[in-house]
Symmetry: C2
């Protein structure tokens, strides 16, 4: 049932990317690098972004409307904020070729799948989420190797066309990612803990620090190398994207937040009552997780993320 | 009143380092590199650490006892966990030369100053805290450039000998640090927010993630690139050091934790009630802090900490 393994691998020859920010522009660059025969068309609702994409020669063609971008596509990927997926899909509904495969890169999968399928009834919708990114956004922030050795989670809806699923998986493999399959709701719970909760907490602590009275903001900035600065990187991520993520994955995020708050209260209590052993035990347990992440190649083992110390 | 500016700069010619872990061994290496004329003697309570320090030629001499290490020192720096400062100081009380300057590198200053002064009555105690470190510990984790362009906060007790203060400041400048003066209690509040609270939160979230039932530990590890992995780096820091920090700086840590919890509850409420604007506003505000940290050279501006994406 699989297409013969061509130089393209995926069988897609005309790919359209809707939304040319960090992720969309990284896909455009990666396709250009790893699948040079594939024709890439881009579209973004923001005319400035389209102009930039045009100016830097991001892909073969930048269309003036979403509809025009998809008329001869065999694969369409939505790379817009999670809350904009439904509206972006509605814009192409009239022009989408019947046999095109549709996917997205949204950070939540259950709500996005529902919106794409509602806006594009009958289309072959195979949602996916590349677990890769940086704190920067926009078309100039992207790079071709963003997905190398990172995971891409594909979340096919029940009854999905298995050939379409396989082609989407091959597409991501061709971009350097390792592909894993997951049910959408399970995806949303896993990412709630590995990504959404960390972002929420980073945003909170940076907010807390900037609201203090007797510790000045300039002191917070000066002495941030003690740990705080790592949180500020995450808390510099795109506000629109993250607002949408928290609202779209509300239930799982609130559940994880509840567990986190309980654990934090327990630690607070241990500090208040001077229970050093409890603290020591937790702090020892958490080291093991770090070791596994390094073993699995999901982070940089050099101390301090390999930050340079001798500039 | 200042000593003539010699090649040594500080006027110290025999420096003793008690505790040869990450910070102590980094100081030893940095003195070797930037003040090659200064004689460095080291001591550590752990015989394995002494043997390693000896084997790697960390410094001129490794003494067999704390007392022997300080007999002819003009500067003694304690680089042991905060909770061990008092005991470590008591061990040298009988052998400390009367005019030697005593300092430390502990992450909390009020409690440490009190313990050092109690154990060494009459000694010139000038506590300090280099705001620099990595998640690794032990004598092999240190490196000479750890303090380059980082801040070192010096917290002289009231009535401190001003020449001794100036010599300690010069010592840190010679190691590449920028020196700032602060009252000990203010230091403890500033660091509670820029360092201690971030560590506490990182330890908590990594603990929360590893306790989930329906999301497996291997999933947490696999998909950690979404944000979680940055927390695991901090949560891999030394358990003894951090237990001691939280117990020694209890009051400031509990106060910051209380503020953080209130802010987190507000965000939780905003998510529950779908208040996208509130989320968006906070997430926009926190970006500014990141920008300032980069402008001040306190972090690496390359996206994702400059992690390599094309291995
Ligand atoms: N950043 C990450 O780390 C990361 C990682 C994995 C997945 N994701 C997911 O990837 C998606 C894109 O994120 P990103 O970081 O690439 O965001 P980004 O850099 O902000 O880019 C999104 C682009 O989509 C445009 N857009 C908004 N609504 C649109 C619409 N209806 N039609 C066409 N274009 C529209 C935006 O225009 P404006 O300039 O007007 O906003 C912007 O140029 C999100 O769903 C996010 O959850 C992000
Ligand atoms: N790590 C950081 O990021 C950082 C940054 C700034 C300041 N500091 C402060 O620097 C100090 C040292 O931290 P570190 O990271 O260098 O820790 P480390 O790598 O664990 O080294 C501490 C060393 O001191 C030894 N020690 C313990 N009690 C002693 C005693 N009574 N006498 C002599 N040696 C003793 C330890 O022996 P064992 O092997 O038996 O434990 C260990 O070898 C702490 O006060 C910490 O708060 C740390």
């Amino acid at each position: 049932m699989l297409p013969p393994s061509t130089s393209l691998g995926t069988g897609f020859s005309r790919v359209t990317i809707i939304g040319l920010g960090l992720i969309g522009s990284s896909i455009a660059r990666a396709v250009g690098k790893y699948m040079p025969d594939v024709v890439v068309t881009g579209y973004d609702a923001n005319p400035d972004v389209r102009a930039t994409a045009q100016a830097i020669g991001l892909c073969g063609d930048i269309a003036d409307s979403a509809g025009a971008a998809v008329t001869d596509a065999d694969f369409v990927i939505f790379c817009v904020p999670v809350g904009a997926m439904g509206a972006a899909a509605a814009e192409i509904a009239a022009d989408l070729p019947a046999d095109a495969v549709v996917s997205d890169v949204g950070s939540c999968k259950e709500s996005v799948a529902a919106e794409l399928m509602a806006a594009l009834p009958g289309a072959k919708v195979i949602p996916a989420h590349p677990v890769a990114g940086t704190e920067n956004s926009g078309p100039e922030a992207g790079f071709a190797t963003l997905f190398q050795n990172r995971w891409c989670i594909v979340t096919p809806p029940e009854g999905a066309d298995s050939l379409a699923v396989e082609r989407v998986c091959e597409f991501w493999r061709a971009l350097g990612a390792e592909v894993e399959m997951m049910a959408p709701d399970h995806h949303d719970r896993v990412l709630a803990v590995t990504s959404h909760l960390p972002h929420l907490i980073a945003y909170t602590i940076v907010g807390t620090a900037s609201d203090l009275e007797e510790v000045t903001r300039s002191e917070v900035i000066k002495y941030s190398a003690g740990g705080f600065r790592d949180f500020t990187r995450i808390a510099a991520s795109d506000p629109t994207m993250w607002r949408d993520v928290f609202l779209s994955n509300k239930e799982a995020v609130l559940d994880m937040l509840q567990r986190f708050s309980e654990d934090l209260s327990a630690l607070q209590r241990a500090i208040r009552w001077g229970k050093g052993d409890e603290l020591f035990d937790l702090f020892t347990r958490t080291r093991a997780i770090r070791r596994s992440i390094l073993e699995e190649g999901q982070d940089d083992a050099r101390p301090d993320f390999g930050r340079s110390h001798d500039e």
